[in-house]
Amino acid sequence: MRWCYRCGCSGVADVPVPIVIIGSGPAGISAAWPLVEAGLPVLMLDASDATPLPAAPGGTIGEMRRGPDRARIMFGDQPPLPGPVENRSPKLATVLARAVGAGFHDRLGLSADGFFSLGSLAQGGLTNIWGAMASPWDDADLAPFPGGAIAMRTAYQRVSARIGLGGGATDLAAPIRTLLRRHAGRDDGLDLSIASNAVLANARDGREGCSHCGLCLWGCDRRSIYNAAYELPALQRHANFTYRRGQYVREILPDGAGHRLIIDGAEPICAARVILAAGTITTTALALRRLGAFDEDVPLLSNPLAALATLVPGQIGAALPERSFSLAQLQFGLTMADQVRSAGTLYAADTLPLSVIADRLPLSRPLALRFVRALMPALVLATFFLPGSFSRNRIRLASGSTRRVTIQGEQPPETRAALRKVGRQLGKKLRQRGAYALPGSLTVAEPGTDIHYAGTLPMGATGRFGCGPDGTLNNCPNLHIVDGACLPVLPAQHCTLTIMANADRIGRELAARWVAGG
């Protein structure tokens, strides 16, 4: 198949690219597979440059702890700075996270107020630092999806089989084991189970099974943790799939029945069909621009998030382990008396920097460090979410030459109150299971800290800001939104697997139409 990448050229093959996918993150890759397997010609563009991300350190957490390279692994070439205590997940403080997020704000012209915003220009997008929580949503939450829960269940199965689940939380930390043991047989509204992670237990597709090295936050050298970029080589083995990096799509203009993509520093590309999978924030900005919706506030869903530190006293003073698993070890759901549903994850703290806890203690530094070191093997950290309906964030695209994108975050008092209420309930129920909440450790995070950005252009919405069952942006035929932006709801759940399943569903629908000659 030959086609012309250039617009308006007089070449012999002046045919628009049949399908362009913008973004190589989890949504783009998931949408690509069914199309590519059906034989459709697909061109995938992303904004990544050739700069490699920082290499995973290798070894084990124990070796890193004692070794001379620890500071280099943790800080890279940017030394830590004196400053106030930050309420940020340690996952986002790594050299890897900095590199993955580099350039995102500047390139888009994004500024956020009262909202933690993150995006990635890297190959594979934010899956490079994914916490890898991958459990399907409940049927009730899937009801608003086109085809309902049934269509999504099949899509979940396909995606899960493709990316590989089930590794990681197979060898639990001691305090977590205690918690799980004491949970057995309880039925008090706290639903606790081993976390479903997109981590391989055994080798496949050139990736190795998780060795519990405990260095998850700094990059997995075994590639056990799923990363959308790992799938590119397999896609590229298909002759009908083309991938080009360094293509930052600035604008999607209408062009007959198709589109003309304006790309930074490159020739425009004409496409018959565009699949927008650039990540919710960028996708929303591109869609708003296409719609000419300037200076209009669009609701941006996110899961209000809080964290709680608890202690399993029997483990205090134990030696820190040589190996561990620093992503979620348990997942839980909690239904409150008022039917508000919350969900979250439990982590062991044995791989985390002491400062995560020590910085908050009103002790002298020498004591705080030594004390927290003794606590770390006994700590269980919980993060938990509320449904996106509790969020009040807005995204807008400014008119004028700047075309800046702004996000205004808001945490309404009732949301904070609800988070605190869940935190207290959770604390109580964990206490019954032998984990005692540290006084004052309940921390409500800034909106957006969950990085579950979604629902700006929900499927099924009939207004301008919405899309159809196949992700088609309302009034923009052949422009499909397949990432978090098109989610119709955001329950208190991790959303990446659902975004991938939905993208897969849309990809499959488009492929079926193509096969049927549509």
């Binding site: 620890r70 002491l354 400062s355 020498p366 004390f371 070191r373």
Partner: protein, 410 residues
């Protein structure tokens, strides 16, 4: 465009810096001084003393005389002039001799380095002599540069004295501490003089920070950035200061404070130089920024790090940890905090001073120290070895000092 520069006093504080900057921008440089010691590499030397005319070999034969310049910095402190029977002494007559031979050879530019204190009625002899010499620069191509309070570089001259005083003294008696001074980094002086060489201005041009800061602030900033300490200032009358000068001159083993210097500082007046700087296309960096580029600032950060890290570790920190601490402070564009010297000598006493408020600068530094300790092999060994006994001792000590910490401000 000037291509060859002759610097008198080229081995002095400013002179050496000027010569280096001129060489760095591709000019050839001849230094005129008595001895050929301490000269920057790449400069040629001609033996010369104040009073001599321009030596034969000092001009560059490969360059037209109009493309050569003299920057005249040499000053004879031993023979100040302006006594009852002379009109500026050797400094003025020597400059005159140099000026005359410069004119004779058709040298393109003559820059005389003067002072902020240059005034007909200056309190100090230095200021009166500088003023008198400025009046002799009446040909085109001749200009005087009135330079503010010069700091930075290897401490020499007045800057060396101030570094030493702010370091040695627990408190500083001062005449009129609110009087403004206009600091300028020695590298900025060099840059300014070289720009003046290629400029056509005549009369005098000011080289100093256009907006002054009080001398008290200057010294306290210096004390903090170079010595990591706060320096209480005690205002004293001028008469008492002059008496102090007389006394220090007679007692050995304490720093001598020169009467001339005291008078020079006491009599200084604001130098309006914003327009001059603009004409030269220069901006003067704030004092703090200038000081933080100095090794003295890094030494202060290292000393602070040594204390804070030792406090957190309970043992002297290894070199690598110290280097990391200083690198973090530098990366944050910060300098050392003002801290009592007691804590540098007895770091464990920091337990009494550690603020409970997490936003105070010291609390931030201590958290940084803790992070660095935690991520170092030395810190890991310390943490792995700590046990229930060390924790108990820690809790008892924390409980004992808690009242003190509660009532401490910031």
């Amino acid at each position: 465009m000037i291509r060859h520069i002759i610097v008198t006093g080229g081995s002095g504080y400013i002179g050496r810096c000027v010569a280096e900057a001129a060489l760095a921008r591709g000019c050839s440089v001849t230094i005129l001084s008595r001895r050929a010691t301490g000269l920057p590499q790449g400069a040629t030397h001609q033996a010369w003393a104040l009073g001599d005319k321009l030596p034969e070999g000092s001009l560059n034969p490969a360059v037209k005389a109009s493309e050569q310049a003299i920057i005249h910095l040499a000053h004879d402190w031993g023979n100040p002039g302006m006594t009852a029977d002379d009109e500026g002494g050797l400094n003025r007559s020597g400059t005159g001799a140099l000026l005359a031979s410069s004119r004779l050879h058709g040298v393109g530019r003559f820059v005389f380095v003067s002072s902020q204190s240059a005034r007909a009625d200056a309190e100090n002899i230095y200021g009166r002599v500088k003023y008198a010499i400025e009046q002799d620069l009446d040909h085109p191509g001749e200009v005087a540069a009135r330079v503010g309070l010069v700091y930075g570089g290897p401490p020499q001259a007045l800057f060396a004295l101030l570094v030493k005083l702010t370091g040695d003294l627990p408190l500083l008696p001062m005449i009129d501490p609110w009087r403004d001074v206009q600091p300028i980094h020695v590298k900025e002086v060099a840059e300014g003089l070289l720009r003046l060489v290629d400029h056509t201005a005549t009369g005098w041009m000011g080289l100093a920070m256009p907006v002054g800061i009080s001398f008290k602030d200057f010294l306290q900033t210096l004390a903090r950035e170079f010595h990591g300490k706060s320096l209480p200032i005690i205002p004293i009358p001028l008469g008492l200061a002059l008496l102090g000068c007389a006394v220090t001159a007679r007692i050995r083993f304490i720093p001598t404070v020169d009467r001339e210097r005291v008078l020079g500082l006491a009599g200084v007046r604001a130098l309006a130089c914003a327009d001059h700087l603009e004409a030269l296309g220069m901006t003067i960096m704030p004092l703090e920024i200038g000081l933080r580029r100095e090794p003295g600032s890094r030494r202060a950060a290292l000393a602070e790090g040594r204390a804070l890290l030792a406090y957190v570790l309970g043992a002297p920190p290894q070199k690598m940890l110290l280097r990391r601490y200083a690198a973090s402070i530098a990366a944050a564009n910060q300098g050392a905090l003002a801290m009592s010297g007691v804590f540098r000598r007895f770091p464990s006493l920091l337990r009494l001073a550690e603020p409970l408020r997490d936003r105070s600068p010291l609390a931030q530094r201590l958290r940084l120290a803790a992070t660095l300790v935690e991520t170092s092999p030395q810190g890991e060994a310390m943490l792995a070895a700590s046990n229930i006994a060390t924790l108990c001792v820690g809790f008892v000590l924390d409980a004992v000092v808690l009242p003190l910490r509660l009532f401490r401000r910031g």
